[in-house]
Amino acid sequence: MYEILRTEELAPKIKLFEVYAPEIAEKAKPGQFIIVIINEKGERVPLTIAGYDAEKGSITFVFNEVGKTTKQLGLLKEGDSIWNITGPLGNPSEIRNFGKVLCVAGGVMIAPMLLQVRALREAGNTVVTVMGARIKELLFFKDEMKALSHRLYVATDDGSEGYKGLNFLKDVLAEEKFDRCVAMGPVSMLQKVCELTRPYKVPTVVTLMPIMVDGMGMCGVCRVNVGGQMKFGCVDGPEFDGHLVDFDQLIKRQRMFLPEERLSALLWELGGCGCGGK
C-alpha cells in the first residue's frame, strides 16, 4: 500500500498526487514512469513520473480524470492509500548539454516536462519551452515553467490564451536553430510537433504512452512501429525518435479499447460496476 501525502487540483479534472514510495523515489529519473493499480480489481495504469524527493521518500504524478480508474483515483484524499505502485519503469531520458533545446508539452504532460526542463537546464542547455492545452483553464505550472525556461510560449487550441495552435512554431523554427526538441503530450500534438521540426532536421524525441498492461515487456500491446521496426513502448521507450514513429498506426492502437473504456467509466458513474451485485 502506498500512502497519499498530498493532493492538489492543478486545473479542472487535473490532479497532482504526492505519494510515499521511498524505494521508487530513490531510483526515479526524468522520463521514467510508474504503473499504478488502485485496488484488487483495478487495471494497471502507466503514469509518467512528475517529480521525486529521495529524502522525503515521495514521488509525484499528475493525471487527468478521464476514465474509470483516473476518476476513482481523483476521489482519493490525503491519507488514503493506493494498492500497488511499480516503478520506476522505462528508460530514463538522455540528459546532457545539447545546446539549445525546444521543449513542447501539452495537457497533463506539462507536469513531467517541468522535471525535464529543470534537468536540461541544470545540464547547461538553453531551454525554450512551449506549453499548451485545449483551453486556458487547463493550463498549469505556468510560473514554474517560466522561471525554469529561458523563454516560454503558451498556446491553446482555441486561442483563449497565447497562440492558437502550434503553427506559430514554424516561424520560431525558421528563425532559430535548435539542437534538440523534446515533446510530451497527446499523440496528435506529438505528431504535429514532428511535422513542424522535420523540415529543419531538429532531432525530436517524443515520449509515447501507448496502451500498456504489465509495463515491463511481457505483453507487447504497447508495440509501436519505429522506422519499420517493432518496438515496445515500455522497455524500449518510452522515448523514441519522433521522426521515425508511425503516428497514424499509434493513434489507431490507442483507440483499440475505446468502447470498453467508455462503458467502464459510464457504468461506474451510474453507480455500479456492471456485475449486477454479484
Binding site: E23, I24, K27, I35, I37, K41, G42, E43, R44, K68, T69, W83, N84, I85, T86, G87, P88, L89, V213, D214, M216, G217, M218, C219, G220, V221, R223, N225, M230, V235, Q249, K252, R253, M256, F257, E260, E261, L263, S264, L267, W268, C273, G274, C275, K278
Partner: protein, 472 residues
C-alpha cells in the same frame, strides 16, 4: 507331506480410473476447472494399481525426485497425511504439479504398467493428496535454526517459489521480489483458471509465506534495485534469478500491429492475471470477436484457444505450421480443446494480416506448408508450398509461437554471462558467472515446463545452501 499352496497372483489392472471432468458442452461456457479430481474411492482404486516395483522406474522421470511408490503406498493405506508429507519432502507445490505437469512425458512414461496398459495416474494421485491437505489446512514443517544468511529470490514463479521454500526450510532468511502485483509467475498470468484455479496457487503461496518467506510485490529487479545493489547495499548474501521467459514473440509479417491481434501473453495476462473475463467488474477489458484464430501448437496456444471460446467466440481455429504429430502441446490438452469444439488447421502459416478502415484485422492470408526433413529440434521442418496462399476471415488473432527471456536483469547486471538467445549461462546447479548469483528455470533453459523450473529451483537452493554455509 505338506503341499505348498500356490499363492494367487494379484491381477494387473490395466485400465486407469478415469478422472471426472466437466462435460464439454458445459465447460466451454465457464472458467471453472475442467478436471474435477478423484474422489477418495477413485484415488484408492487407482493407487491399488501400483505394482510397488522394488526398482521403481517412475522416480527416474520426476525432475524433483519424488519417492512415488512410497507416497502411493501411504495413500493406499489411508495414511494421507504421511503421504502428502512424503511428496512435500521433495515438492512444495504438489497441487500445482498434480494438475499441470506433463506426467505422460515424465514419471508415467516410465511406469512399468504402461507396457501392458495405462500407467498409474501418478499426477492425479498427487493432486488428490494435495487437495486433501489443502481442504484440511496445511501443517507447516519445522525450519532449521536461523543461519543468519539472507537470500533474494527474483521472480515468484515455479522456480523462485521452490527455491524460496527450500532455502527457508534450511533456516535462511528469504525475500522474494516479484515484478507483478500478484505472486505465481506463469501460474497466475499464463495458465488459465480452468486448468489451474488461482485459489490453489494462492494457497500454495500462502504455505510458502508460512515458512517465513517474505514476498515483495511490484518490484522489478533491474529497475527498483539491481542485483549488485542487492548484494552490496541491501545485505543479501546470495541471489537466485528465476525470471522466466516472459517476452512475447511475434511473427514479423505485415499487418501484425492491427487491432484485434494479441500476443498470447497479452491475451492470457488480460484474462488470467487481470481477470478480464469478469470485465467490467474488473477494470481491464478484453475484446473477443466471432472468428478467433490462434497461431501455434503448444500448450499456450491451447490455453488461448480454450479461453477465447469461454469468452464467447463463435468459432476458434488453431493454425499450426506442422502436423498433429509434431504439436508440442500435451495430448490431453489437445483432446480437451477438440472436445470443446476447437478446430485445428494443420500445415499452414500466416503470411500477412489485412485490416479494415479502422485498423482492425479482418482477414489473414496463409500459405500451405509441407513437411521436409527434420530440423535441429528433431521435428520435420515445415516448407511453404509455392503459390498456395489462401485467405481466412478473422477478427481476433492470438499469436502463441513462443516466449523469450526478459532482458532487464541481463541488461542491468554487469558481468553476468548471457547466451546469444538472451538466456543466462548457469551450470546444472544454477551457478552463474557471478559469485553468489544463481539462476534457474526458463531464464536459463528457454521456455520449458513448470516442473523443470521447479527442479532447477531445487538444485539451486541446494547449491546456494552449500555456498552460504561454506562462506565465512
Amino acid at each position: 507331506m505338506v503341499v505348498a499352496e500356490s499363492k494367487p497372483q494379484p491381477k494387473v489392472k490395466k485400465k486407469a480410473v478415469p478422472i471426472p471432468k466437466q462435460p464439454p458442452e458445459v465447460r466451454k461456457h465457464n472458467f471453472n476447472e475442467v478436471a474435477l479430481g478423484y474422489t477418495e474411492e477413485q484415488a484408492l482404486e487407482e493407487a491399488s494399481r501400483c505394482l510397488q516395483c522394488p526398482q521403481p522406474q517412475c522416480v527416474k522421470g520426476c525432475p524433483v525426485e519424488i519417492d512415488i511408490p512410497a507416497f502411493i503406498k501411504l495413500l493406499r493405506e489411508g495414511k494421507y497425511e504421511e503421504g502428502i508429507k512424503k511428496i512435500k519432502e521433495k515438492n512444495s507445490l504438489p497441487a500445482i504439479c498434480g494438475r499441470v505437469c506433463p506426467q505422460e512425458e515424465q514419471c508415467q512414461k516410465y511406469c512399468v504398467l504402461g507396457k501392458v496398459g495405462d500407467p498409474v495416474s501418478i499426477g492425479r494421485l498427487e493432486r488428490f493428496l494435495a487437495d486433501w491437505e489443502r481442504a484440511r489446512g496445511f501443517t507447516i514443517p519445522e525450519r532449521a535454526p536461523p543461519t543468519g544468511k539472507k537470500v533474494a529470490i527474483i521472480g515468484a514463479g515455479p522456480a523462485g517459489l521452490t527455491a524460496a521454500a527450500d532455502l527457508a526450510k534450511l533456516g535462511h532468511e528469504v525475500v522474494i521480489f516479484e515484478a507483478l502485483h500478484l505472486p505465481g509467475g506463469v501460474l497466475v498470468y499464463g495458465i488459465p483458471e480452468f486448468r489451474l484455479p488461482k485459489s490453489i496457487v494462492q494457497a500454495e503461496v500462502d504455505y510458502i509465506r508460512k515458512l517465513g518467506v517474505e514476498l515483495k510485490l511490484g518490484y522489478l529487479i533491474g529497475r527498483t534495485y539491481t542485483i549488485p545493489e542487492l548484494l552490496k547495499e541491501r545485505g543479501f548474501d546470495a541471489v537466485f534469478i528465476g525470471t522466466g521467459a516472459g517476452l512475447p514473440q511475434f511473427l514479423g509479417v505485415p499487418g501484425e500491429n492491427l487491432g484485434g491481434i494479441y500476443s498470447a501473453n497479452e491475451f492470457l495476462i488480460r484474462v488470467n492475471l487481470m481477470k478480464s473475463y469478469a470485465f467490467p467488474e474488473y477494470d481491464t477489458p478484453i475484446r473477443i470477436g466471432k472468428h478467433v484464430v490462434v497461431i501455434g501448437g503448444g500448450n499456450v496456444a491451447m490455453d488461448s484457444a480454450r479461453s477465447a471460446l469461454r469468452l464467447g467466440a463463435e468459432q476458434v481455429c488453431i493454425v499450426y505450421r506442422r502436423s498433429r504429430e509434431e504439436m508440442p502441446a500435451r495430448k490431453e490438452e489437445i483432446e480437451n480443446a477438440e472436445e470443446e469444439g476447437i478446430i485445428c488447421k494443420f500445415l499452414a502459416a500466416p503470411t500477412r494480416f489485412i485490416g479494415d478502415e479502422k485498423g482492425w484485422v479482418k482477414q489473414m492470408e496463409c500459405i500451405q506448408m509441407e513437411l521436409g526433413p527434420p530440423d535441429e529440434s528433431g521435428r520435420r521442418r515445415p516448407v511453404p508450398v509455392k503459390g498456395s496462399e489462401f485467405l481466412m476471415d478473422t477478427d481476433t488473432v492470438i499469436i502463441a509461437i513462443g516466449r523469450t527471456p526478459n532482458p532487464i536483469i541481463q541488461r542491468t547486471t554487469e558481468g553476468l554471462a548471457v547466451t546469444k538467445w538472451g538466456t543466462i549461462v548457469a551450470d546444472e546447479n544454477g551457478k552463474t558467472s557471478l559469485e553468489g548469483v544463481y539462476a534457474g528455470g526458463d531464464i536459463v533453459t528457454g521456455e520449458a515446463t513448470v516442473i523443470s523450473a521447479m527442479g532447477a529451483g531445487k538444485r539451486a537452493a541446494r547449491a546456494i545452501h552449500e555456498y552460504l554455509m561454506s562462506k565465512k
